[in-house]
């Protein structure tokens, strides 16, 4: 059934699908892959009810390609996948980033590399989410740690992608995707929705890649009377290919500046007991749940611990880390990988606090006790 206001017991993947529809999703293309498949199944059922479209494509690359096409035609678009499929989509993600086509790419992380453990959680795709495609490019990465947060954060993913014309990677993990929790579904009519900026000038005045002060060029829908060109080749303000050094440079720098301009508006971090924290945890996704428990347990034992829970992984919330690092003697970074964001925490901390990684790569989630032990050790 379609999400109606009220309290529901939902699976993470189901919350992702229903939140996306609430955000205005009207086109989904996907390919079956564990542990993300329920998102496609839900959307196959629900999208036509709201006049939206669902298609199961022949492969992962076709899926990312189709959502970019649909977005160019004006539909809010999404695809969902997991590790191997996410690898296959990277070229398409780069195309969307460079041509500034809004779209949301869900990656439910599982153990990798390669086929890995398809049914088990991991957090190994954090760096790939930011840098998976070739070349410098803007991309924003959001990461929920609960089912309720999945519902609200996927709405933000669409709003950000539309507002800034940047692809948003929605980085879930197998635990959050498959667990069932309470979700308080809001009245859909009260959810704030963003739309891509559309041209305010006549078609003959339209420069598809000329951006104003906010660095985001207005985007016309295909078929709306603005006949323009979109290419993955380096392009000038008119949208046509260029190899002129100043124009190549200008596009790279505008896209970088756009990401920086967006950063304060797209950085979501929850802080728990950090104001007087002597030791802190930086965590995200399912691991942040164990971290919250560890911090409370530490406090109960008299250790002043705090938590930085990142819901935005990229752009990296450096300021939050820096502030906590000024007071805390150590920051523990538990991750279900061999140490990926711990390097960013180190960079942001800049020697102020001792940054200590905690890796678990056995296809099992990190427990509160493991984090607590590390907090007591540092």
């Amino acid at each position: 059934m379609l999400s109606k206001a009220g309290t529901r017991l939902m699976q993470g993947n189901e919350a992702c699908a229903e939140g996306a529809i609430a955000a205005g999703l009207r086109f989904f293309a996907g390919y079956p892959i564990t542990p993300s498949t329920e998102i496609a199944e839900e959307l196959a059922l629900l999208l036509p009810k709201v006049g939206g479209k669902f298609i199961q494509m022949e492969d992962e690359i076709a899926s990312i390609s189709a959502i970019i096409g649909a977005s160019l035609a004006g539909a809010k678009s999404m695809t969902a996948t997991s590790g191997p499929g996410f690898s296959l989509k990277q070229e398409g993600i780069g195309f969307a980033s460079y041509t500034e086509v809004p779209c949301v790419i869900v990656n439910v992380q599982r153990v990798g590399p390669s086929t890995g453990v398809p049914t088990a959680p991991a957090q190994g795709d954090v760096m790939q989410a930011r840098w998976g495609t070739h070349g410098d490019h803007p991309v924003i990465v959001l990461c929920p740690s609960s089912v309720a947060e999945t519902f609200t954060l996927i709405i933000e993913a669409f709003n950000i992608s539309e507002r800034w014309r940047i692809p948003v990677i929605f980085l879930m993990d197998e635990v959050v995707a498959h667990m069932r929790e309470k979700v308080v579904v809001p009245d859909v009519s009260r959810i704030r929705l963003a739309e891509r900026p559309r041209p305010q000038v006549a078609p003959d005045q339209y420069l598809p890649y000329a951006a104003g002060e906010d660095l985001v060029p207005p985007m016309a829908d295909f078929g709306s009377g603005y006949r323009y060109h979109v290419t993955g080749l380096t392009h000038d303000q008119t949208g046509f290919p260029t190899t002129k050094a100043p124009e190549v440079d200008a596009l790279a720098r505008r896209l970088d500046a756009k990401m920086k301009r967006a950063a304060p508006h797209v950085t979501f971090v929850d802080e728990l007991l950090v104001d007087d924290a002597e030791v802190a945890v930086f965590a995200y996704g399912v691991t942040a749940r164990a971290a919250a428990k560890a911090v409370r347990d530490a406090r109960a034992q008299g250790l002043k611990a705090g938590l930085i829970k990142a819901k935005t992984l990229w752009p990296f919330p450096s300021e939050h880390v820096r502030r906590v690092a000024e007071r805390a003697r150590a920051i523990v970074v538990p991750e279900m990988n061999m140490g990926q964001l711990v390097l960013e925490v180190e960079r942001a901390s800049a020697g102020r606090a001792n940054v200590v990684g905690l890796s678990r790569v056995d296809a099992e989630p990190i427990t509160p006790d493991e984090i607590l032990a590390k907090l007591r050790e540092v």
Binding site: A62, I68, G69, S77, D221, H229, T231, G232
Partner: protein
């Protein structure tokens, strides 16, 4: 009320990138004359391409134009057609783009019978990267990556696409430009998936390596080896060896995909309304 082809061109983007003697301009002219003969509104035409020489065509065309990644034009076009079924969506692609890296999308679009027209500019070679063999390079031909002669057999692309389920399949050549234009017009007018293979010449990277030094030599080759389907029907298998058929190779009526999906929406909304009642 025929318009000159310049009506459909972004003439400010000329000169084009194609080599002297390349047949792509002839094929593109045939596409534009086909569009003109149908009286299509430029705002309602969307032209999508992949990567390669042929795929640079949309940049010169005054429509909604999209130059995508290598091989994926039909997949992008599928998203556009689904989102806005009222658009005429035309894919311009080359033999490497459509038959090698994009082969999966080609057969699945045909299987779905989605209302997209694909024109494959088949010059038997990868021209953009300077002459490697493609899935359409004839056996025995020389290419930069087949210096001892190509040992692979090419597809019959039209048979492949028709077998996969397309509504309309035809083949023409740059030499038979008027016929080609008529075939493309019928393809665009087809409701389901339509496919036209346009045999075209690459004197620079195919002809010079294969004893056809000029564009004229290659056009003569097209003239001498093409057999209209009606004539081919009266010829024996032995007589057809080394020749290829031109004209309409397959037509059938099947439900078009976005129309089928519209019925899904109707059914789903009816069910939802009944649940609410």
């Amino acid at each position: 009320m025929a318009m000159p082809v310049t009506h459909y061109l972004r003439t400010s983007k000329m000169p084009h990138i194609w080599c002297a003697g390349c047949g792509h301009g002839i094929v593109l002219g045939a596409v534009l004359r086909a569009i003109d003969s149908l009286g299509l509104d430029k705002d309602q035409v969307c032209v999508v391409s992949g990567i390669g020489c042929a795929s640079r065509a949309p940049g010169y065309l005054d429509f909604n134009t999209l130059h995508t990644t290598h091989g994926r034009a039909i997949a992008f076009a599928t998203g556009i057609k689904m989102a806005k079924p009222e658009l005429k969506v035309i894919v311009l692609t080359g033999d490497g783009d459509a038959a090698a890296i994009g082969g999966n999308h080609l057969i699945h679009a045909a299987r779905r019978n989605i209302g997209i027209t694909t024109v494959c500019f088949n010059n038997s070679i990868y021209g953009m990267t300077s002459g490697q063999y493609s899935p359409m390079t004839p056996t025995g031909s020389l290419a930069s990556t087949a210096p001892y002669g190509n040992i692979e057999e090419p597809f019959d692309l039209c048979d492949l696409v028709y077998a996969a389920g397309a509504s309309y399949v035809a083949r023409g050549t740059a030499y038979h430009a008027l016929l080609l234009s008529k075939l493309i017009a019928k393809a665009i007018a087809t409701e389901g998936f339509s496919f036209v293979e346009a045999i075209t010449q690459c004197p620079t990277y195919y002809g010079r390596r294969n004893n056809m030094r000029s564009a004229v030599d290659m056009l003569k080759w097209q003239k001498e080896h093409a057999v209209p389907v009606a004539a081919a029907a009266k010829m024996s298998a032995e007589e057809l060896v080394g020749k290829f058929r031109i004209g309409e190779l397959g037509t059938r009526t099947r439900p078009e995909y976005t129309g089928r999906y519209a019925a899904v929406i109707e059914a789903a909304q009816k069910e939802e309304a009944e649940e609410d009642a």
